[in-house]
């Protein structure tokens, strides 16, 4: 191959590589037909951590003990032993609940069950999957190699590897529906929603939860609202309460393609530790770039054919020149 021809071909390839990425990238995935989720209303949370304890009970995980003091679960963040945690936002004197300035607020951290999950997209062995009906993001340790790309590809750092065990695995919230627990399949709600005394964590179909979140965020502050507890499609009780000043922002409606677990709050979400996400999911961009380059291995196959031809020719010309192959 002449140097000029090669440069031409290389330039063509480079152009294809650079320009086609944006053109063929896929759209964000849409919610599954019977997506279930949870609505966490930060203004209702009193920080009792009953959900943290119940989560450990359902998932058979030990409490985290701080300073040798066994009182209650002291987990500060998600880990191989903690799938759900309540965090606190504090500012200044921290006197008033749900105030951004001189106030405090609670925030639940657990798997958001993304509509277009990064962990599912990056997992090489399909160990992370999105249930095609419920949209629950599941984990199967039997195929997992432990590369932890799911943690790196999760905007919320949810999948947690058990670093303290020689034969560890990934742990994450599976909405209490993993084999052996299967609460959702049996018509039950998640453990955390079941025990929440204020309905701050509410279980139910994503659509109904979204409608509820929209209702709440347009309420007039001070108006009395009847808050349900448990499962939004069949609440076991209600309580009346003055509505706080909600931010007009439902976390999970659009962020990185949306999530099945929705959050609403009186404090801005970046202050509650939520990541800076745009509407486009990273999974859709990454897959777009990858599929453009590989396209059912068509481009590599053509490249290989060309390379084989050129290499063979050049080896022979080496031989003719008296060189060795």
């Amino acid at each position: 191959m002449k140097r000029r021809d090669f440069l031409k071909a290389a330039a063509g390839g480079a152009t294809a590589l650079c320009t086609s990425g944006a053109a063929t990238a896929r759209e964000n995935l849409q919610p599954t037909p019977q997506a279930v989720g949870m609505l966490f209303d930060s203004t209702l949370c009193v920080g009792c951590k009953a959900c943290v304890a119940k989560c450990k009970e359902v998932n058979d995980m030990p409490p985290v003990i701080l300073n040798g003091d066994v009182q209650y679960d002291s987990a500060k963040d998600l880990s191989g032993d903690t799938l759900n945690v309540i965090k606190i936002y504090k500012n200044g004197t921290a006197a008033v609940k749900d105030n951004e300035v001189d106030g405090f607020a609670f925030e639940k951290r657990s798997c958001m069950h993304c509509v277009d999950p990064g962990c599912v997209s990056v997992c090489p062995t399909t160990s992370m999957q999105r249930d095609s009906l419920t949209g629950i993001v599941t984990y199967n340790p039997d195929t997992c190699i432990g590369c932890r790309n799911c943690t790196m590809g999760c905007p919320y750092n949810v999948p947690q590897f058990e670093y303290d065990k020689p034969y560890g695995q990934i742990q994450k919230c599976q909405m209490c529906n993993q084999p052996g627990v299967a609460r959702v399949d049996n018509g039950l709600m998640t453990g955390c929603a079941e025990v929440c005394p204020t309905g701050a964590t509410l279980f139910g179909p994503r659509e109904e939860l979204m409608a509820e979140a929209k209702r709440r965020t347009v309420l007039k502050p001070g108006e009395i609202y009847n808050y349900p507890r448990g499962d939004i499609s069949k609440p076991y009780s209600y309580h009346e309460k003055e509505t706080p000043t909600y931010k007009k922002h439902i976390w999970g409606e659009k962020e990185a393609g949306g999530t099945n677990v929705l959050h609403i709050s009186s404090v801005a979400f970046d202050k509650l530790g939520m990541p800076p996400l745009e509407e486009r999911s990273y999974a859709s961009i990454s897959e777009g770039v990858q599929h453009t380059l590989y396209n059912f291995l068509a481009l590599p196959a053509v490249a290989l054919a060309g390379l084989t031809y050129v290499v063979r020719k050049n080896i022979n010309s080496d031989d003719n020149d008296g060189g060795e192959s």
């Binding site: 191959m1 140097r3 090669f6 480079a14 590589l17 650079c18 963040d77 990064g118 997209s121 997992c123 090489p124 062995t125 399909t126 340790p141 039997d142 195929t143 997992c144 190699i145 432990g146 590369c147 932890r148 790309n149 943690t151 790196m152 590809g153 905007p155 947690q160 590897f161 670093y163 303290d164 065990k165 020689p166 034969y167 560890g168 990934i170 990541p275 990273y282 961009i285 990454s286 897959e287 770039v289 990858q290 599929h291 380059l293 590989y294 590599p300 490249a303 290989l304 390379l307 084989t308 290499v311 063979r312 050049n314 080896i315 010309s317 080496d318 020149d321 060189g323 060795e324 192959s325």
Partner: protein
């Protein structure tokens, strides 16, 4: 009729023994990792799931092992037969680098006893960049074994086998060009899914694969210069300066292309200001860019390209630049969010240092016992 010869000499020299001790310390901590779990040895945490082992051993290690790939393009695709004498030692160094990259990936795997799951078609997720990297690197290690096989077969005196292998070698050489192009670009694409966690100076959604493969190629040519200089000085081999000067020219061209893409992306996305913000990330960016520019300046002068010393300085600067680019993107400029930070532990560092020591020991054994280095000055 090989023109390659083992260089012979005593194997158990003082430096060799010292390397052995370092490798043994690494092995000790490695055993601890398998007995007690990752947290007994590493500082990995809930947000920083990839640490030194992934980033140095795999991401940087395989880029440093791109000598065989880069030279194969020069010799067999661009038909620059004059570089052929450099080919065999470069293939060997690539084999070591990649084999140890594969080893690094294995010891870092949380569920290593199930590693074969990535090779089972039923498990494969074709959306996953990691799948492409895993399959491609594994296949390329096999290809490197085959490409290096003639050296071992010659030593064994298996003339028939060498002849038979040479007949079909072109297929493996072609694969040896294609596969690194694929997985070296994919190693860059791994960053895309990490999104906002990669600081804007190193995050770019569509250009990651191009930047990764361009810098890997440049590192490949640089490592050939480095290894040849090492052989010239350390093993008292005849210098190949004239040949290396040609590689220097290739490095300069590739580097200019890389820098244009890199800087243009920052300017177009309006991120260039971050380079002068005065924080840790901006300092690392300026250091990295300086290291990238030094070889361009040195190699632009034909006089410098004829000087073995200047070539070595340029190559070293490029190797540090390419390594720092990866370190910055994956570790230093990586922020998982509030509450998470990472710096490797001493045992973690010792495992990596031990792996590098073992690699150098293997290099010494191979060049002394096998026909790898070119016997005389090339024609």
């Amino acid at each position: 009729m090989s023109q390659h010869k083992p260089i012979g000499g005593r194997l158990f020299t003082l430096p060799f023994m010292a390397l052995g001790i370092v490798a043994a310390i690494g092995l000790y901590f490695l055993m601890m990792r398998f007995q007690e779990g990752m947290s007994a040895v590493t500082n990995l945490n809930g947000g920083n799931a990839w640490g030194l082992w992934v980033v140095y051993d795999v991401v940087i290690g395989t880029a440093l092992a791109c000598g065989g790939y880069a030279l194969a393009i020069a010799v067999y695709v661009l038909n620059k037969g004059q570089y052929h004498p450099l080919m065999r030692p470069a293939i060997m160094a690539s084999l070591f680098g990649y084999a140890l990259g594969g080893f690094g990936a294995f010891i870092d795997m949380g569920r290593w006893w199930q590693f074969y799951n990535i090779f089972l078609p039923g498990n494969m997720n074709f959306n996953s960049v990691m799948l492409e990297v895993g399959l491609c690197v594994a296949t390329y290690i096999l290809i490197l074994f085959i490409e290096f096989a003639p050296a071992v077969l010659e030593k064994m005196g298996a003339k028939g086998a060498v002849k038979a292998l040479n007949k079909v070698l072109f297929i493996f050489i072609a694969l040896g060009v294609l596969l690194p192009t694929m997985h070296q670009s994919s190693l860059g694409s791994l960053l895309i899914a990490m999104g906002y966690k990669v600081t804007p100076l190193w995050q770019t959604m569509h250009l990651q694969p191009l930047l990764a493969v361009l810098s890997a190629l440049t590192m490949g040519f640089s490592i050939v210069i480095f290894e040849e200089s090492f052989a010239t000085v350390g093993l008292r081999r005849p210098a190949e300066t004239r040949l290396l000067g040609g590689l220097g020219k290739a490095i300069m061209g590739l580097l200019v292309a890389f820098l244009i893409v890199r800087i243009a992306e920052l300017v177009i996305q309006g991120k260039l200001g971050l380079a002068f913000a005065g924080d840790m990330n901006s300092l690392m960016f300026l250091l990295e860019t300086t290291l990238f520019v030094i070889p361009v300046v040195i190699l632009s002068s034909p006089v410098n390209r004829r000087s073995g010393r200047k070539l070595l300085i340029a190559a070293l600067s490029m190797l540090f630049a390419g390594s720092l680019y990866r370190l910055n993107a994956f570790l230093i400029g990586f922020d998982a969010g509030p509450g998470y930070s990472y710096f490797p532990s001493v045992p973690e560092i010792m495992v990596t240092v031990g792996i590098v020591a073992a690699e150098i020991m293997a290099y010494l054994i191979f060049v002394k016992k096998l026909p790898v280095l070119h016997a005389s000055k090339h024609a």
